[in-house]
C-alpha cells in the first residue's frame, strides 16, 4: 500500500474521530441541559410555573425571587405584606383567629414600590378573591422616591417573557441550592406558615441582645422640612398604594404601624424628629382612612409592648409573641384608629416619646 493511501486512511480515521468528538459533545450538552431544565421545571423551587409539589422539602428563603411565584401559585385568600417587621408572623394565626388562609409575602427593607410590585402579582393572579391585605407600613420609607425598591426585581421571575426563563431553568444556584441540596439535607425545609422567619431564637429577645446592635443616633437635628416628607408620602400613596385600594373595593386593607421599641423614639428625640414623625403618621392615616375598605391599627404607642425589651432582639424587631398579639388585636378590633380617636392616639404617642425616662434605660 503506497504512502498516499496510508496517509489518506489516516486522515479518514482522524476525521471520523473528530466527528465522534462533536457528536459526543453535542449529545452531552443536549442531554445535560435538558435534564437540568426538566429537574428545575418539575420541582420549580421558585414557584414560577406551578404550586409546590407535596412531598418536596422546599427551602423558602429568597423573598425577591420567590414572592412573585408564591403570589401567583399558592392557595390563599389573604396576604401579609411589609418589611422585616412582618417576617416573624406565623400565618396559621390568621387562620385560627380570622379563618383567613394568609400568604406571607414580606420584603426586608421594603419600599412602597416593592409593595406595589407584589400587589400587581397578587391581584393579577387572584383578582377579587383576595379578602384581606394586611400591610405593615414603615413610615420612614414612605418619603422615598416612588420608583425606589430595596433590591431590583429579578427580571425573569417578574415578567411574562418566557424566553428569559433560561436564566431560571439553567441556573446552577437554583439547581444546587434549591433542588439538590434540599433533597440531600431535608432538615432545612421551610415551614409554610413561618417562611422567612428571623434567625433569632427566644433567648435573643432581651435588653442584652438589643444592646449588642444598638448605637444611639447622633444628636444632629433633622433639617428636612416636613413639607418634603409629606410630599413624598403623598406621592408614594398616590402611586404605589392607593390605586390598589381603589381598584379593589371588595378587598379589606388592614394597615398597621409596627411597634418599634422605645429606643426608636429615643433616636427621634435626639434628632428632634418626634413632631415630624407624628405629623407624618397623622397625614398618612387621614389619607388612608378616606377609603371605606381601609382600617388602620396603631401599635406605635403601645407602652406594654414597646417599653419591654424582652419583646425585642434589636431596637425595632419584635418577637413572634408580639406578632401574635397584633393578630389578636386585629381580630378583635383593639388598637384600631379612626378619625374619631386618631388625635388622641397621636397625642399619647407624642407624650410618650417626649417624656419617657430614656436615661433610665441601661444601655
Amino acid at each position: 500500500m503506497d504512502i498516499t493511501r496510508i496517509f489518506g486512511r489516516q486522515r479518514m480515521m482522524e476525521k471520523q474521530k473528530m466527528r465522534n468528538f462533536m457528536i459526543a459533545l453535542v449529545a452531552v450538552v443536549a442531554l445535560g441541559l435538558t435534564a437540568v431544565g426538566a429537574a428545575i421545571v418539575t420541582v420549580d423551587p421558585f414557584f414560577h410555573y406551578h404550586a409546590p409539589l407535596h412531598s418536596f422539602p422546599y427551602v423558602v428563603d429568597d423573598q425577591v425571587d420567590m414572592n412573585p411565584g408564591l403570589a401567583a401559585h399558592m392557595d390563599y385568600d389573604s396576604v401579609l405584606l411589609g418589611s422585616s417587621m412582618t417576617v416573624a408572623f406565623d400565618t396559621d394565626w390568621f387562620m385560627e383567629d380570622m379563618e383567613l388562609k394568609t400568604q406571607k409575602l414580606s420584603y426586608n427593607g421594603a419600599y412602597p414600590k416593592d409593595q406595589a410590585i407584589i400587589m400587581d402579582k397578587i391581584f393579577k393572579a387572584k383578582g377579587d378573591s383576595v379578602k384581606r391585605v394586611f400591610l405593615g407600613i414603615d413610615e420612614l420609607n414612605y418619603s422615598s422616591d416612588t420608583e425606589q425598591t430595596k433590591f431590583p426585581p429579578t427580571d425573569y421571575l417578574y415578567d411574562d417573557n418566557v424566553i428569559n426563563d433560561v436564566k431560571y431553568i439553567w441556573n446552577k444556584d437554583v439547581l444546587l441550592d434549591y433542588v439538590i441540596r434540599p433533597l440531600l439535607d431535608r432538615s432545612d425545609a421551610s415551614e409554610w406558615n413561618r417562611i422567612y422567619k428571623p434567625w433569632w431564637q427566644p433567648m435573643h429577645y432581651n435588653l442584652a441582645n438589643v444592646r449588642l446592635y444598638y448605637e444611639p443616633a447622633e444628636e444632629i437635628p433633622d433639617t428636612t422640612p416636613l413639607e418634603d416628607y409629606i410630599a413624598g408620602i403623598d406621592a408614594n400613596l398616590d402611586v404605589n398604594i392607593i390605586p390598589y385600594i381603589e381598584a379593589h373595593p371588595e378587598t379589606e386593607f388592614t394597615i398597621f404601624y409596627p411597634p418599634y421599641s422605645i429606643l426608636y423614639w429615643y433616636d427621634a428625640y435626639r434628632q428632634e424628629q418626634i413632631d415630624k414623625i407624628v405629623a407624618k403618621y397623622d397625614h398618612m392615616t387621614r389619607r388612608l382612612l378616606e377609603y371605606d375598605n381601609v382600617e388602620v391599627y396603631f401599635f406605635q404607642d403601645d407602652e406594654d409592648v414597646i417599653c419591654n425589651f424582652d419583646n425585642y432582639a434589636d431596637h425595632t424587631h419584635y418577637s413572634p409573641e408580639v406578632c401574635h398579639y397584633m393578630v389578636d388585636c386585629m381580630e378583635k378590633g383593639d388598637r384600631r384608629v379612626t378619625l374619631d380617636n386618631l388625635d388622641e392616639e397621636l397625642d399619647k404617642l407624642r407624650t410618650l416619646a417626649y417624656e419617657y425616662d430614656y436615661a433610665g434605660i441601661d444601655l
Binding site: 486522515r11 476525521k15 473528530m18 465522534n20 450538552v29 445535560g32 446552577k172 444546587l176
Partner: protein
C-alpha cells in the same frame, strides 16, 4: 452582547454560523454582509447609540483610506512632482485620520479625566460631562489607525523606491503588495464581532487576506492555498485541517475560554471585589496578599479567556485571529512578559509609535526615552485615570531597567545584543539562556512586580492602591474574613466536601479557596495554555464528553452578572 450570555450562545452564534456557512457557498459578498450585519447587532445590543459611533468611525476611516489610496496611486503612476508624484503620498489624509480617531477616543474616554484634572490642578469647578464610553472604542480605533498607517506605509515605501530611482522595484512592489481593499472587506475587518469589543488588535496584513478569501474553497494537504493563490491574493495562514475540523477546534477553544472566564476569573473576582470594598474598614495582611495574587489571576483568566473565545469563534468562521496571550506569567523577565501579554497591543505600539519615534536607532538614551513614552501611552490607553498612568510608567521603568541590566551583562554572556533588536521586546531577552534575567529568581521577581503593578490597574484610585499595598505590611495578622472566602464556597463544591466529610473542621472554610488558588497558580505557571491544548489535543469521544460537561457547567453558571475587565478600554 457578551460571549458568556444565553442569547449569544444559543441564538446569535448558531444563526450567524449557519447563515454564514450557507451563504458563502453561493456568494462571498452576501456571506460577508451577513457577518457584518450580525457584528453590528452584536455591538448595538449594548446600546444602540454605540452603533452610530462605530458606523460613523468605519465610514470616516474608509474615506481617509481611499484618500490615501488616491494620493498613493497618483504618486505611483506620476513621473514627476508636477504630474502628481509626491515624497510622502497620503501623509495628509493619514494625519487627518489619526487625529480624527484620537479625537473620538479622547472625547469619549478622556474628557472627564481632563476636566477632573483641571478642577484639581487649577482649583476650578467645571462640571463633569459623564459621557458614556462606547465599549471597545480603544480597540477598534487603534485597529483602524493601524490600518491607515499600514496603507500609508505601502505607498510611502513605493514612493521612496521611486525617489531613489528603483523604478522597477517600485513597480514590482506596487503590483505585488499594494492592494485596494473594498468597503465590505474593510467594514468586516473593523466590525468582526469576535474581536470587536476587547481585541485582539488585529493588523491589516494578517486579517484582510483572510476576509478577502471568504467564499474561496480551501482544500487540505497538497492543495492548501491553491485557490487562494489562483485568486491573486496573498496566501493566508495555511489550514492543516478542513474547515469542519477547524470549527471543532474552535468550539473546544471557545469552551475552554468560557470556562476560564465564568468558572475561574469570576470566582477570584468575587474575593477581589470584596477586599477592595472592605479597604475602608481594614484588610489584614493575609487578605491583602491574597487579593493582590487573586487579581493577578483573575485578570489573566478573564482577559485570556475572552481572547480564547474570540480565537475559537474566529476558527469557527474560518478566520485566524491573532494570538494575544502566550502564558505570560511564565515569563522570566519583564521584556519576555510583554512578548507574551497583550501581544497585539505590543505589536501595534512597536510598529506605530516606537519605531516612528526612532526605535533603538538613535542611541541608548533615546531608546530608553522611546520605551518610556510607549509605556506611558499604553497606560493612558488602558484607562482614563492616574492609576493607569502609574501602572504604565512602572512597566516602562522596569523594561528600561531590565534592558540596561541585560546590556551590561552582554559582555559576560556571549549572546545576542538586545539593543540590536528594534522592538520593544527583543526576542533575545527571553530566548538566550544563562544570561541575567533568564532564571527562576528573575521569573519570581517579575511575577511579584507584575502583581504589584496590577494593584494600580485594579484600584479605583491611587489612595486605594497605596492602602492595599500598605495593608500587606501593616494590616496585621488575622483570620481571613468570611466575606472574602464566600466567593469560593460554591454549591457544587459543597457537596464534594460533604461527601468527603471535610465540612466540620476548623480549616474547612479555607479548603476551596486554597484549591482554587493552587489550581490557578498551576495553570498559569505549568500547564499548556488553551490555544496549545486545542491545537494539539486528540479529539475523541471521552474528550467530547468532558468538554460537553464543562460547557454545561459553564452555561449553568451564566446566571450571575459578569463583565469583561477589558471592556471599557
Amino acid at each position: 452582547m457578551l460571549f458568556n450570555s444565553y442569547i449569544f450562545i444559543f441564538l446569535f452564534l448558531p444563526i450567524c454560523a449557519a447563515g454564514f456557512c450557507l451563504l458563502k457557498r453561493y456568494s462571498a459578498t452576501c456571506a460577508k454582509v451577513w457577518l457584518i450585519g450580525f457584528s453590528l447587532w452584536f455591538y448595538g445590543y449594548f446600546n444602540i447609540g454605540y452603533l452610530a459611533i462605530m458606523v460613523g468611525s468605519i465610514l470616516f476611516n474608509y474615506a481617509v483610506y481611499r484618500l490615501i489610496v488616491y494620493e498613493g496611486k497618483r504618486s505611483a503612476t506620476a513621473t514627476s512632482a508636477a504630474s502628481g508624484s509626491s515624497k510622502h503620498p497620503g501623509r495628509t489624509p493619514l494625519i487627518i485620520g489619526i487625529l480624527g480617531n484620537v479625537a473620538l477616543l479622547g472625547y469619549f474616554k478622556y474628557t472627564d479625566f481632563l476636566i477632573d484634572g483641571c478642577n484639581h490642578i487649577f482649583r476650578m469647578d467645571l462640571p463633569l460631562k459623564h459621557i458614556l464610553l462606547p465599549l471597545g472604542i480603544s480597540f477598534f480605533t487603534f485597529q483602524q489607525i493601524g490600518f491607515l498607517a499600514d496603507s500609508y506605509r505601502d505607498y510611502d515605501h513605493v514612493s521612496g523606491l521611486r525617489e531613489n530611482g528603483d523604478t522597477s522595484d517600485a513597480d514590482a512592489e506596487y503590483d505585488r503588495d499594494v492592494i485596494t481593499y473594498g468597503f465590505i472587506d474593510y467594514a468586516l475587518f473593523v466590525s468582526f464581532f469576535p474581536q470587536l469589543i476587547a481585541g485582539p488588535i488585529a493588523d491589516r496584513d494578517s486579517m484582510m487576506p483572510q476576509y478577502m478569501s471568504i467564499g474561496h474553497k480551501k482544500r487540505i494537504d497538497d492543495e492548501v492555498g491553491e485557490d487562494v493563490e489562483a485568486a491573486g491574493l496573498p496566501v493566508s495562514t495555511p489550514a492543516a485541517d478542513t474547515q469542519r475540523e477547524r470549527a471543532a477546534r474552535g468550539i473546544a477553544l471557545f469552551i475552554l475560554g468560557l470556562s476560564k472566564k465564568v468558572l475561574i476569573a469570576d470566582t477570584f473576582g468575587r474575593a477581589v471585589d470584596y477586599s477592595y470594598g472592605a479597604l475602608g474598614t481594614g484588610v489584614n495582611s493575609a487578605e491583602a496578599v491574597l487579593t493582590i495574587l487573586f487579581y493577578t489571576l483573575q485578570l489573566y483568566f478573564d482577559f485570556s479567556g475572552y481572547c480564547d473565545m474570540a480565537l475559537g469563534l474566529g476558527w469557527m468562521f474560518g478566520i485566524d485571529i491573532p494570538v494575544n496571550f502566550d502564558s505570560p506569567y511564565k515569563s522570566r523577565n519583564i521584556i519576555e512578559f510583554w512578548r507574551r501579554w497583550h501581544i497585539t497591543l505590543n505589536k501595534f505600539l512597536t510598529k506605530n509609535i516606537y519605531i516612528p519615534l526612532g526605535g533603538n536607532r538613535k542611541g541608548q538614551v533615546r531608546t530608553y526615552v522611546n520605551l518610556l513614552i510607549v509605556f506611558l501611552i499604553s497606560g493612558i490607553w488602558h484607562g482614563a485615570g492616574v492609576t493607569f498612568i502609574i501602572w504604565g510608567c512602572m512597566h516602562g521603568l522596569m523594561v528600561v531597567l531590565t534592558r540596561m541590566v541585560m546590556n551590561l551583562d552582554r559582555d559576560r554572556h556571549a549572546g545576542t545584543d538586545i539593543s540590536q533588536d528594534d522592538g520593544i521586546t527583543p526576542a533575545a531577552a527571553s530566548e538566550d539562556k544563562g544570561r541575567i534575567g533568564s532564571g527562576i529568581i528573575s521569573g519570581v521577581i517579575t511575577f511579584i512586580f507584575v502583581c504589584v503593578a496590577w494593584v494600580f490597574f485594579r484600584a479605583p484610585d491611587v489612595a486605594s492602591a497605596c492602602d492595599m499595598l500598605k495593608s500587606v505590611f501593616t494590616g496585621g495578622f488575622g483570620r481571613i474574613g468570611d466575606g472574602f472566602l464566600e466567593g469560593f464556597n460554591s454549591g457544587e463544591f459543597w457537596y464534594a466536601l460533604k461527601v468527603l466529610h471535610l465540612t466540620n473542621f476548623s480549616f474547612s472554610r479555607y479548603i476551596l479557596m486554597s484549591l482554587f488558588a493552587l489550581f490557578g497558580i498551576t495553570v498559569v505557571f505549568r500547564a499548556p495554555n488553551s490555544i496549545e491544548m486545542s491545537r494539539t489535543m486528540r479529539y475523541n469521544i471521552p474528550r467530547g464528553i468532558l468538554l460537553g460537561l464543562l460547557f454545561v457547567w459553564c452555561v449553568l453558571s451564566l446566571s450571575g452578572v459578569s463583565t469583561f475587565l477589558y471592556f471599557n478600554f
